[in-house]
């Protein structure tokens, strides 16, 4: 019932700008943020509990759990000890953020470049008609997106060069396909929302 009422209110507030509907979106968002802020302790304590159990029981890969506990305390203690200005430049927390967290995060992100290469290699193998079309389209789009594409086709009239072909593929077939997916997603959202609001779908609440 609570899900149904909240869902209906969210739908109504989109069409009714009048008070109290106008404020309900903000109220519910605030409540969610408050609940989520408290819930983060559940998560943090769960992480510490599982890691501590691994270390104490000398379970498999307990060394990683020790690193988690050490890293957690290393960032949390300076954060609390730094008071309200814990993020200001020059604090230990800020130093850790800038010189430990940011490079580590960037390193993980950088791995993506290698994974793109390996995934592209597999995806572009011409195994069947669809994969061959994908390979041809990808070849022209990638070549059209770099200067050498236009250098190679410089003898062609403007509008027929590789960059133009790449733009055409992106603006028409690609955009059309993506919009079809978007329409499907929008309709799927409506259907799912109705199932949840009406209580037909209750799996996320632990129900049938």
């Amino acid at each position: 019932m609570i899900t149904g009422i909240v869902g209906a209110v969210f739908v109504l507030q989109y069409f009714i700008p009048h008070w109290p509907f106008s404020k309900m979106n903000a109220w519910f968002s605030d409540w969610f943020s408050i609940v989520a802020a408290f819930a983060i302790w559940l998560g943090a304590l769960n992480l510490m509990k599982i890691s501590a159990q691994k270390v104490v029981g000398r379970k498999e890969d307990w060394g990683y759990a020790l690193v988690i506990i050490f890293s957690f305390l290393l960032i949390v203690i300076p954060g609390f000890a730094g008071g309200q200005g814990y993020r200001e430049a020059g604090t230990f927390f800020s130093w850790l953020y800038e010189w430990a967290y940011t490079p580590l995060s960037s390193t993980m992100f950088a791995i993506l470049a290698f994974f793109v290469a390996s995934a592209s290699y597999r995806a572009f193998r011409a195994r069947n008609l669809e994969a061959s079309l994908l390979l041809i389209a990808a070849f022209f789009v990638m070549l059209g997106r770099v200067p050498v594409g236009d250098i190679l086709t410089g003898f062609m009239p403007v509008g027929w060069r590789l960059s133009d072909l790449a733009s055409w593929v992106m603006n028409y077939p690609q955009a059309a396909g993506q919009r079809a997916i978007m329409i499907g997603i929008a309709l799927g959202l409506v259907s799912t929302s109705l199932r949840i609001i009406l209580g037909i779908e209750r799996s996320h609440l632990g129900g049938e």
Partner: protein, 414 residues
């Protein structure tokens, strides 16, 4: 002779002195001219004020905004104009005007938000040059008004209502036992097979519900699918591992898995540690999940929910350990990565349909059939729109262009 010579010397010195005076005064004049001219120029930079300042109610709100428009100063309408900016001044309940907002040259609009009903607001706009200013006439005091309905969204409401009615209709038809055809979704057909593979190999299943919280419908969809997956997992007695990046997802997932184990008659096999919170940080989470994949080598990986840059990193790592991977997301930008790296991909709407499809309940399947009506309407409208705009522009048929404009108006969201 000597006197004559000394007179020449005197004249020469006099000439040099005059030359010095002329040169130095010229140099002095030259060095001072730009600054002095600038000073004279600056002194002359007088500007005209903005005109036609109009304040109107911001439509379709709860009486909390007013729109202010004006015609910029004449000196702001020429290239290289002298206006360096504007300041909007506001008076509340006819009290003294106070500066409210500074704006860039060329500005002619300001939306004043967070206002109150039954309060009078008056405005004027002041244009500035480097050393001059000119203010407009103040507007009459007005109060923001509130409306009950967002009229611009009326068509959207009608469309949503039609789709909802069709969903209701097919749900009730399904309840009455009507046979509804739902096309097969390969990714969902493979769920049982993927779980069976993990059972045969004696390895765990890794379930990743994306990186957004429970307020995202993709996460909700992932948790609903988890209910069906964990029921099968409980039947097969295999281990499911679910690292999550949000505490609320952890709580919801635990409840879902616990309920599934109870339904399967194996509550004793449930363990809270199946679902583990890792971190809210995107790449920290990716590092942890990649580590779990590489160390524990799960036989099956489910990647269902909202994913961003981490989608390919996770999917490629899963691929490298030869896990069978079923992915699904409603983020179109991430779909190509999943298609390239995973065995099965639920594309957009299939993710939302998964729970209903797997449950096989007539009520839920009816809702899927209802959304097909929406797809049919979308197809018809797209075809009409394409024909109308093509004929309208190719043959200059005004009627066709009007049809296209009408469709654009009806289906655009405000």
């Amino acid at each position: 002779m000597r006197r004559r010579h000394s007179r020449h010397i005197l004249l020469f010195h006099l000439f040099l002195f005059c030359l010095f005076l002329v040169t130095s005064s010229a140099i002095h004049a030259q060095s001072e001219t730009p600054a002095d001219t600038a000073a004279v120029d600056t002194a002359k930079v007088q500007i005209e004020p903005p005109t036609s300042v109009v304040v109107t109610d911001h439509k379709y709100d709860d009486a909390d905004a007013l729109e202010l428009t004006w015609v910029p100063s004449v000196n702001d309408r020429v290239p290289g104009g002298k206006v360096v900016g504007y300041t909007v001044f506001r008076s509340i309940n006819e009290r003294e005007f106070e500066p409210l907002q500074e704006l860039l040259p060329g500005s002619n609009f300001y939306l004043d938000e967070s206002l109150y009903r039954d309060t009078l607001y008056s405005y004027y706009v002041m244009a500035y040059s480097r050393n001059d200013s000119a203010r407009s006439v103040a507007t009459e005091p007005v109060s923001p008004q509130r409306e009950w309905l967002h009229v611009d969204r009326a068509w959207l409401f009608v469309i949503a209502l039609l789709i909802s009615i069709s969903v209701f209709y097919f749900i009730s038809a399904a309840k009455k036992g009507e046979d509804l055809f739902i096309r097969k979704i390969a990714g969902l057909e493979a769920v049982d097979e993927a779980i069976g593979r993990a059972t045969e190999m004696g390895r765990p299943i890794l379930y990743i519900p994306g990186i957004l919280d429970m307020d995202d419908v993709q996460t909700l969809a992932a948790i609903t699918i988890l209910g069906h997956v964990s029921r099968t997992v409980a039947d097969y007695d295999i281990h499911v591992r679910m690292p999550v990046s949000r505490s609320l997802v952890m709580t919801a997932a635990r409840e879902t898995i616990k309920a599934s184990y109870q339904t399967a008659g194996r509550p004793d096999a449930y363990n809270d540690d199946m679902v583990q919170y890792v971190t809210d940080e995107q790449f920290g989470y990716v590092a942890a999940v990649d580590g779990i994949m590489v160390r524990e080598k799960p036989a099956t990986v489910f990647l269902l929910g909202a994913f961003f840059a981490e989608s390919l990193i996770l999917a490629e790592t899963g691929n490298s350990i030869n896990a069978i991977q079923i992915a699904g997301t409603a983020r179109p930008a991430q779909l190509p990565f999943f298609i390239a790296a995973c065995d099965f991909t639920l594309i957009g709407e299939e993710l939302f349909a998964a729970s209903a499809y797997l449950s096989g309940e007539p009520k839920q399947l009816g809702s899927l059939k209802g959304q097909d009506v929406g797809k049919f309407v979308a197809m018809v409208v797209i075809i009409i729109g394409v024909v109308a705009v093509t004929l309208g522009q190719a043959f200059d048929v005004a009627f066709m262009q009007e049809i296209f404009d009408a469709l654009t108006y009806v289906f655009s969201t405000q």
